[in-house]
Symmetry: C2
């Protein structure tokens, strides 16, 4: 079973807006045994939409279209679908009534949205929208692959995706493909690549790709098979092989973040952490608190961007800064000690570095970062030299700090 | 002049990796008078690439292809191009020598990369790669639009983009289109839309689109004309009209962020700001310090995620938290006062709220956020109720806090 996506929206053609809906659907369709063979972005113009749809139906068994279902005259995906399948548009009276009721309940009085959004090409089914007013459409007829049309609003598309697929019986054998993703941290991409020789690549029953990600390296595994269950077994076998070769560098699976892994370890041990941040300016705390329920193990911390703040808020000795500079091992340790003492947490992570683009020098170049980690059994420091622009250096600093704490917790058992 | 993009890469079809190259090139091609009519993503398979290329050449005057130029057997864009234009692949001896020299200088000994990367379809020009080893390719022959092929590595693609376009004479009249983008904050999208009636839309000489963005709403303006200079004048006229209708809600142009606007105001006035963050956990400080040189006006602050931290680090009265709850106007004010007093900054921004998914109740639902702002002339508080998931609520909170400070600074002149 082959799939295609068609995203409708002039903003992706003229203004560089990304097709986030397609990025979200692509791995989900693959894991349902419907790998994509092509993705297309077209303008909000009915003939362009119709042409893309007709071509896609010739190549694929399922075509999922997103966008252009809103209430304005710019929203012409309904017209494009009608042209593509050669059926007239008709107003669905029941649908119009339900959209009217929904809009009135929200205080909208215009009749136009209900008129436009209740237009349905003859022969198409309606996919209910539990979030917004635009219904989805579905068509399975002669002359090519089945078509599902969903709204471009991400929350609506996501809510309607599963129910829409369920309406096309037999299309997606649920166990012909199985995807798994693993996050790897603390190893450079080239090292991961070398250790996974023979695993990464395109093979008859699996595809394994390696992608650089914010917190490290992501491995995407797709197992494929014709027999029921064999795809999952292939994906499982591959994931096990990866874990065996990479050991503790595997942070977790299925979208697990470094912060989540750290949080789980801390929560299990009923321990807590605080932060003291200079060049990351709060991003480390922001990453830790991205985890729901982080209040169980994250207390808070200090953003000490100015040197004076390192002294007054954390009690770092001004003589230490004078002797070694603010970006130094000594100051990183003192920051971690100060944060741990003032918050009473089990651990404290400290960051001081030069994120650039200015502020670097021959001895202390842009990208130089010192991390400090205060623990119940002592305080250590680590030196990193990251490359990239300001955003990248700060993101890599956050990842390195989280990974250090994760490994420390793992080593303590 | 019409353009199309073809991105080559199985990772975008099976694993949801975004086509960042296309997102980057799309507005740049539009602003050179070559708006895109379609974007296509295909797999790393020569026949699929050839089919997409042939179709694109029939519709467009220029087709830019990215990806699949690496040295491995997976990299088959060269083969796809040769199939599409019906020309044989030949090794370019001079190119092979130059790639060999470059690779040897970096310590690579294998001959394979130079062999594969020096394959050129007959009749194609070579686009030099100043960053990596993979050269680009260029073809302008009968049977359709011109073709430019660039590597998928973003840094290489970006370095080669301008030189490649210059090699296609007459294709892109450099002043036939001009794009401008404006960031608008503090007004809901519907209000911006209403105030810009008659401005937003597709017109003969301009396209104006409105897009929701993290810090507010983005307006993208594309002016188009046949006479030199007229496109820029149209874009300027439209931007002026937008500013006249939206007034102080326009934060800035060309990718200006809220944090940059705040920083510019503070720096001009030689004033400083600090933060006290609960539910945002450091993201507000992270946003402020995303601006290079922010040390001139950002001192630091406090991440007070646990209530005990609000008391010990900021001196918030436990009785206040007991009486009103941590998420309250009173506590937001006290946090701002505490941060301003402890850091000695001109302003202090405080955030306390319920980011969810848990922790909400009937009186204080998920999304309820109280902001506090301490200034030289007094302290105020504001209440917001944001919708969305945890990530969205936190991002909207950061944007609202920055926008409040921006407006406050603007009002003070």
């Amino acid at each position: 079973v082959k799939g295609e996506l068609v995203a409708v929206g002039t903003e992706m053609l003229l203004f560089g807006r990304r097709d986030g809906n397609g990025d979200w659907m692509a791995p989900r369709l693959a894991s349902r045994g419907c790998p994509l063979v092509r993705r297309t972005i077209v303008a909000d113009e009915a003939p362009a939409i119709a042409a893309a749809l007709k071509e896609a139906r010739e190549r694929a068994d399922l075509v999922v279209v997103t966008g252009g279902l809103g209430p304005t005259v710019d929203d012409v995906t309904r017209e494009g679908l009608a042209l593509a399948i050669g059926r007239p548009l008709r107003i669905d009276e029941a649908l119009r009534e339900s959209i009217r009721r929904r809009l009135r309940a929200r205080g909208y009085l215009s009749e136009i949205p209900a008129e436009r959004q209740s237009l349905v090409p003859e022969g198409c089914g309606i996919v209910e929208n539990p979030v917004g007013s635009a219904p989805g459409l579905q068509f399975a007829g002669g002359g090519g692959g089945a078509i599902i049309v969903l709204p471009g609003v991400p929350a609506e598309m996501k809510a309607m995706f599963d129910p829409a697929l369920e309406r096309i019986p037999g299309l997606l054998p649920s166990d012909s493909a199985r995807s798994r993703s693993l996050l790897v941290a603390g190893l450079p991409e080239s090292e991961v690549d070398a250790r996974l020789e023979g695993v990464i690549g395109v093979f008859p029953h699996r595809i394994v790709t390696i992608l650089a990600a914010e917190g490290g390296v992501e491995l995407h595994v797709l197992g494929m098979a014709e027999e029921a269950g064999a795809a999952a077994a292939e994906a499982d076998r591959t994931a096990s092989e990866i874990r065996a070769r990479l050991g503790g560098a595997v942070v977790g699976e299925g979208g697990t973040t470094l912060a989540e892994a750290v949080g789980r370890s801390l929560e299990r041990r009923r321990q807590t952490v605080s932060v003291a941040e200079s060049c990351t300016g709060g991003l480390l705390g922001g990453a830790l608190t991205s985890v729901p329920g982080s209040s169980a193990w994250f207390a808070g911390g200090f953003i000490v961007y100015a040197n004076a703040m390192k002294e007054t808020l954390l009690g770092v000795d001004p003589g230490l800064i004078g002797a070694h500079g603010a970006v130094s091992e000594e100051v990183a340790r003192a920051m971690a000690d100060g944060a741990r003492a003032r918050t009473g947490t089990s651990y404290a992570l400290a960051v001081t570095g030069i994120a650039g683009p200015d502020g670097g020098g021959p001895d202390k170049p842009v990208g130089l970062v010192h991390l400090g980690l205060a623990t119940p059994s002592g305080t250590s420091a680590r030196r990193h030299h990251f490359t990239g622009d300001r955003r990248t250096i700060r993101a890599r600093t956050v990842a390195a700090a989280l990974e250090w704490l994760r490994r420390t917790l793992a080593a303590e058992g």
